[in-house]
């Protein structure tokens, strides 16, 4: 019987192979443009559009920008060349960026923590200019210029409120003096603006529309109008006024649609869901638990609102350590910024480390003769009223600074501002019959339940969530691919096109060493 099996199986196999050479075919789906024309595409936006990641912009991050991914899909239906101000191969590290160097070892009393390092080789820095906000000894770097007629106008750091600012790309705009401040130029806009030109961002958009004559565009501005406020712990950098936001939204959309182009407008995600705010609090709490710290008893004293000399700073005396958010998305809890990380281990110690650092940061905005002693001195004399001999974060005289904390009031204010801006963006997009990518709804659902792509679970978590890069704000290539796919979905829905998107798993998350 065994012999029978041995002899017949290969015969059957051969017979079967002969008959079964024929693999069933699945026809490749047709990719079509629908009612839109994707032949000339222009993207307008900030760092998210430019492809910033890991706290910088570099060749790889630019190549993985969502507009570049979109352009690769548009090319399937006749989309033409899509030019970006790419850093060259030899200057591939662009502005420099953070890389993950390793982890601190776990101990009995502390969990492992990531160690990041700056990439400082092969940069595209051609010089530096001291400005009001970046004075010596750390002047603002200037990046290698690219004056070609680029399609991707994503400018790192630009706010909706900046688009009409003249001289925004002129390195001569150094910001004036503390007493008489004027706008400071943006180094990323400077690198694509001819030397000496005072062209505003809006004018550049108009010039691009005139020369490229886009048939399709994406517009995603406004994140920095709340983000800068939020990442500074709602302690500085005031939010753009609603009227300015609305007026500028109209201006930029009118400029983009002047030639009849169709496009997508993206809303602003609620930034309190990003790892920049959701990482440090939970990891601090986990370390406290490891040390059996009585979190419901131990005080966590912090300041709220504006934190600047000459301004009254409000101290919150009733909070406990347990008020710090233990899990991302928990409502009503204190959020700590990623920048709070180096100072948390100082909790309870008599230290002025944070305040000395804060003084250095604040100096450009202070009168030149203003000393540290004055800075920390009594409120009556315009100081912050800090006593660094008291326990940091535990004593009302040495509170945890507002710059590193978003309390529930500030979170609510950020959410309502975001919603107001999004209402404007949606209204103006609808008025022009454009597609809308509601990034706010999308990232809220990512924060709540993750976003799996082909059996890989991606979340809004720091490091291992795959979607956010090391700066905790900007996406990874995986994150940008997911954004591009979501945009293609709304494009398909609006214009009847049939783009398939990309396999997001082919784009990396944060790579561990």
């Amino acid at each position: 019987m065994k012999l029978f099996i041995k002899r017949s199986a290969p015969v059957l196999g051969l017979l079967g192979l002969g008959l079964a050479g024929c693999q069933p075919d699945i026809d490749a789906p047709k990719v079509s443009a629908g009612s839109a024309d994707f032949s000339r595409y222009v993207s307008v936006g900030n760092s998210l559009t430019g492809g910033t990641a890991d706290g910088g912009q570099y060749r790889e991050s630019q190549l993985n920008s969502y507009p570049n991914i979109l352009a690769s899909q548009f090319a399937l239906v006749g989309g033409g060349t899509f030019l970006q101000a790419l850093f060259s191969e030899t200057q591939s590290n662009g502005s420099g960026y953070l890389r993950l160097a390793g982890f601190t070892p776990a101990t009995a009393t502390s969990l492992p923590a990531p160690i990041t390092a700056s990439v400082t080789t092969n940069l595209a820095i051609r010089g530096a200019v001291p400005t009001r906000t970046s004075p010596l000894p750390r002047p603002q770097p200037l990046y290698t210029k690219d004056l070609s007629d680029i399609n991707n106008l994503g400018i790192d750091g630009i706010r909706m409120s900046d688009i009409t600012t003249a001289g925004f790309g002129n390195s001569a705009s150094t910001g004036g003096t503390f007493a008489a401040p004027t706008p400071v130029f943006n180094a990323y806009f400077e690198r694509i603006t001819p030397d000496g030109s005072n062209e505003s961002y809006l004018d550049r958009v108009k010039r691009t529309v005139a020369s490229i004559k886009p048939t399709f565009f994406t517009e995603w501005l406004g994140n920095n109008d709340v983000l800068g406020f939020a990442t500074a712990g709602a302690a500085a950098n005031s939010v753009t006024p609603a009227a300015t936001f609305t007026a500028n939204t109209k201006l930029v959309l009118d400029a983009l649609t002047a030639g009849g182009a169709k496009g997508v407008v993206a809303t602003i995600p609620d930034v309190t869901n990003i790892p920049f705010f959701t990482t440090v609090g939970p990891s601090f709490r986990a370390n406290l638990a490891l040390n059996n710290t009585p979190v419901t008893v131990a005080p966590f004293i912090y300041t709220t609102g504006l934190l600047a000399p000459g301004q009254p700073n409000t101290r919150v005396l009733t909070a406990k350590l347990s008020d710090i958010g233990n899990a991302p998305g928990t409502a009503g809890n204190l959020l700590l910024t990623l920048t709070a990380s180096p100072y948390l281990s100082l909790y309870g110690r008599a230290t002025g480390k944070y305040w000395r650092d804060f003084y250095q940061q604040a100096r450009p905005n202070l009168p030149p003769t203003y000393t540290l002693a004055q800075f920390l001195g009594p409120a009556a004399l315009g100081g912050l009223a800090i006593d660094t001999t008291k326990a940091f974060g535990q004593d009302p005289a040495n509170p945890f600074p507002s710059t590193l904390v978003l309390d529930p009031t500030e979170q609510a204010s950020i959410v309502s501002t975001t919603n107001a801006f999004n209402t404007t963006l949606t209204t103006e997009a609808n008025a022009r019959n454009l597609a809308i990518f509601d990034a706010n709804i999308f990232f809220r659902s990512v924060a709540a339940s993750g976003f799996a792509t082909n059996a890989v679970n991606n979340t809004a978590g720091y490091l291992s969530g795959n979607l956010f890069s090391l700066d905790g704000v900007h996406p990874t290539p995986r994150g940008y691919a997911v954004i591009a796919n979501e945009m293609l979905r709304v494009i398909n829905a609006k214009y009847g096109s049939t783009f398939q998107g990309v396999n997001a798993n082919n784009y990396r998350g944060v790579v561990f060493p």
Binding site: I5, G16, A20, Q23, A452, N454, Q500, V502, F512, P513
Partner: protein, 428 residues
């Protein structure tokens, strides 16, 4: 030949193809004659394979006999990702389900004994390297061999009953997939043997005239339980990230249960002439028992263990009961030569949006051909060929998100299977 050697042979060469001739990972390849007739058999008493199709009919099988059959199942699965890219194929392999029957009874007695060995469930697929669903599955090999001592008794010349003790004598599962580690893709392999389990296969056969037979049969559910399966990893980091990543992959043992569901069948057999036999069957497989696929992870020293940071994993299946309709016929060309043909249609056990790479099930249409040649009065050869085409099936990323089935892959599956088979029978 003993059961043990049979099982050894089974272990060495048996597996059953995915897409082998019934819904889910069911395999309806019980006997070469039946295969040639579209898989009918509940209302017939053709040969010793009645032990599989309807134990009640065994008592009315005229001769004692031993028979053995083997099939070569070649599934051709194609896949296209929702996000474009090339069509993907399997790494093709041939799997060979087989069956063995021995039926005995005194001449003119009202009863018969028998022993059956068959493979009612099984699954083997191996996808191309680097395919889009690699983090859901790279390959699976699921085997189940049933051994069934059977007794059948003819209460009257028209009515017989029969039952068999189904023993899950051999069951094994090997499941592999890639791991999306932050240091680059890794790989995990789960391998385990099922515990011996018992069930029953019972049937009633009613033959009111020479021209008509009616049968019902029921095979009970057996749960294939793996209690101490092993887990092996490859590609876990060894450098700076080992201390961060590896604590999420400490398990080296797993436990899991897979239902091998019950099947209820009804069939009618008709003999319009001496030379022509026709059969019609309907079968309902109770796949709705397969709700989730759950794994519990642990480690060697009896301690806790995790995979991906979790001590358990649950994957939704939500299968539905699946109907199949079968029809087939046999024509005796001469005393020595019989030819057969048949067709069947099996409805899918898998709901829309729940399709997994290990069982890319869909409604399937099946056509079969067969013949037998009686070499001597006692020895004959049976051959069959089965072709099946599964309906092209698509699920989107949005489907997966809506249903919470994001542990699988969005795209389109299409499968064809080609299953030639050959067998020997010896009557005495």
């Amino acid at each position: 030949m003993t059961v043990k050697t049979l099982l050894l042979a089974g272990g060495a060469l048996l597996a059953s193809a995915s897409a082998a001739s019934a819904s889910g990972f069911q395999v309806n390849l019980g006997g070469q004659k039946n295969i040639g007739m579209g898989g009918v058999g509940v209302g017939l008493s053709l040969d010793q394979a009645a032990m599989f199709y309807n134990p009640g009919a065994l008592a009315l099988v005229r001769e004692n006999g031993v028979q053995f059959g083997v099939n070569a199942a070649l599934a051709r699965i194609s896949f296209r990702s929702e996000n474009g890219g090339d069509q993907r194929a399997l790494q093709n392999s041939v799997v060979t389900p087989f069956n063995f029957y021995a039926g005995f009874g005194p001449k003119d007695a009202k009863y018969k004994f028998g022993l059956a060995v068959y493979t009612p469930y099984g699954n083997k697929v191996k996808y191309a390297d680097g395919w889009e669903g690699r983090y859901a599955l790279t390959e699976i090999d699921l085997k189940a061999v049933y051994v069934q001592p059977t007794f059948s008794y003819a209460i009257t010349p028209q009515l017989s009953v029969g039952a068999g003790l189904m023993i899950l004598a051999y069951g094994s599962v090997n499941l592999q997939k890639d791991l999306p580690l932050p240091t680059g893709p890794g790989h995990i392999e789960l391998d385990g043997k099922a515990k011996t389990q018992f069930g029953y296969n019972a049937g009633i056969f009613f033959k009111p005239s020479d021209k008509l037979g009616v049968g019902v049969s029921y095979r009970s559910q057996i749960d294939a339980k793996v209690e101490n399966g092993s887990i092996t990893y490859t590609g876990l980091p060894t450098g700076a990230s080992a201390g961060i990543v590896n604590p999420s992959f400490t398990a080296n043992k797993f436990a899991a249960t897979l239902p091998l569901p019950a099947v209820a069948s009804i069939g009618i057999g008709i003999n319009p002439t001496d030379k022509l036999t026709l059969g019609v069957d309907a079968a309902l497989t109770f796949w709705s028992q397969y709700r989730t696929l759950d794994f519990a992870f642990s480690s060697d020293n009896g301690g806790t263990g995790v995979v991906g940071g979790s001590a358990t994993s649950t994957s939704k299946r939500n299968y539905q009961d699946a109907l199949a309709f079968r029809v087939g016929g046999q024509y005796m060309v001469s005393d020595k030569l019989a030819v057969r043909a048949g067709a069947s249609y099996d409805f899918s056990a898998v709901r829309d949006g729940f399709v997994t790479p290990e069982t890319p099930d869909a409604d399937r249409a099946i056509g079969t051909l067969g013949l037998s040649y009686q070499v001597t009065e006692k020895l004959g050869v049976d051959a069959s060929f089965l072709f099946e085409a599964l309906v092209k099936r698509t699920q989107t990323q949005q489907d997966l998100l809506n249903l919470g089935t994001t542990d699988r892959v969005a795209g389109t599956f299409r499968t064809n299977a080609y299953i030639p088979g050959i067998g020997l029978h010896y009557k005495f």
